[in-house]
């Protein structure tokens, strides 16, 4: 007679989960450093909106780049998407890609970017 002890985490799907569940979240000090970086980026953004950096399109490009960087930093570190299960990333990125594609097409059709 043999006895098998069935641990729930030994299931096939759970194996995949264990791989991602034991992610090491950053320390409090890392979160504070990330927040400081976000604060500095915001200050640079505000300064950029006041000073002339060559052509207006350069300023707009820089402001958008800073916004994307801040967005990605919050999502990756504070929302833990960098460390969490890839399924969460896929769900969220699908929403973002769908929204960006849909509204860029919508605004282009109405010649918003042509102005």
């Amino acid at each position: 007679m043999s006895t098998t002890v069935e641990h729930p985490e030994h299931h096939e799907h759970a194996d995949m989960n264990i791989e991602h569940a034991h992610h090491d979240h950053p320390s409090d000090w890392t979160y504070i450093k990330v927040a400081l970086v976000l604060g500095v980026m915001t200050a640079i953004e505000v300064a950029l909106s006041y000073v002339e950096v060559g052509e207006e399109r350069i300023t707009v490009g820089l402001l958008l780049a800073f916004a994307v960087a801040k967005f990605a930093t919050v999502v990756a570190y504070f929302m833990h998407l960098k460390f969490d299960h890839p399924w969460f990333r896929r769900l969220f990125v699908t929403g973002i890609v769908l929204a960006v594609f849909c509204y860029v097409v919508y605004l282009s059709t109405l010649h918003v970017f042509a102005d």
Partner: protein, 206 residues
């Protein structure tokens, strides 16, 4: 003969937080929140796109240049950004089983969120005094609807945070329920990232 012995329920519950027993192997609640946030991207995308579509097409004032107070809005944006820090510190605290710090950081996040909303109410009042109402022109309509929707989201987030704080005070939010704080945190960070986009696209880009 093979006998299968399942682990006792208590042991399974203890592991449930880290190893959800679902078909996908990940928490259903967390998955639902991420799917919801993905759909919210489409909602706010529509509001921001409408603002951009109407931008500069007003036939009467006030225009953005007449009413915006960039230094004031910059401080509000910084306050909301820092509330994301206190929120993630609240989650880190409950994951370390530190319930006292959890309550401190939850309350700090709710206070920072309330400060942001107070700033928004002040800004809306100032705009109305300068003649900009929701029905005044295209800018007024698209601006108030977009930032108003965001403000409602922040307000709902504050209600969630205060509910969690009250539950913790009553001993109903134990470290085993850290995922509840994580899910509320995901919502809170989302309203922050939406504001990051609104602040740049609506206020800073001329």
């Amino acid at each position: 003969m093979t006998t299968v012995v399942n682990e006792p329920h208590d042991t399974q519950d203890a592991h449930a937080d880290h190893h959800p027993q679902t078909n996908t192997g990940v928490s259903n609640e967390k998955m639902a929140m991420w799917a919801f946030l993905g759909s919210e991207c489409l909602l706010f995308g529509a509001l921001i796109s409408t603002f951009l579509l109407y931008k500069g097409r007003d036939t009467s004032g006030p225009t953005p240049d007449d009413v915006y107070d960039i230094p004031f809005t910059s401080v509000s944006s910084f306050v909301l950004l820092m509330s994301s820090l206190t929120m993630v510190l609240a989650l880190a605290a409950i994951q370390r089983r530190d319930e006292r710090r959890l309550r401190v950081w939850l309350l700090a996040t709710a206070l920072l969120g309330s400060t942001f909303i107070a700033g928004q109410i002040y800004e809306f009042t100032a705009f109305v005094h300068e003649g900009l109402t929701i029905s005044r022109n295209l800018f007024g309509s698209s601006f108030f609807v977009m930032t108003g929707f965001h403000g409602v989201h922040v307000t709902l987030g504050i209600v969630m945070l205060l509910t969690l704080w009250a539950m913790s005070m009553r001993g109903q939010l134990k470290p085993e329920k850290a995922e509840t704080v994580e899910i509320a945190g995901l919502y809170w960070h989302f309203v922050d990232i939406v504001w990051i986009v609104i602040f740049t696209v609506v206020y800073l880009i001329k």
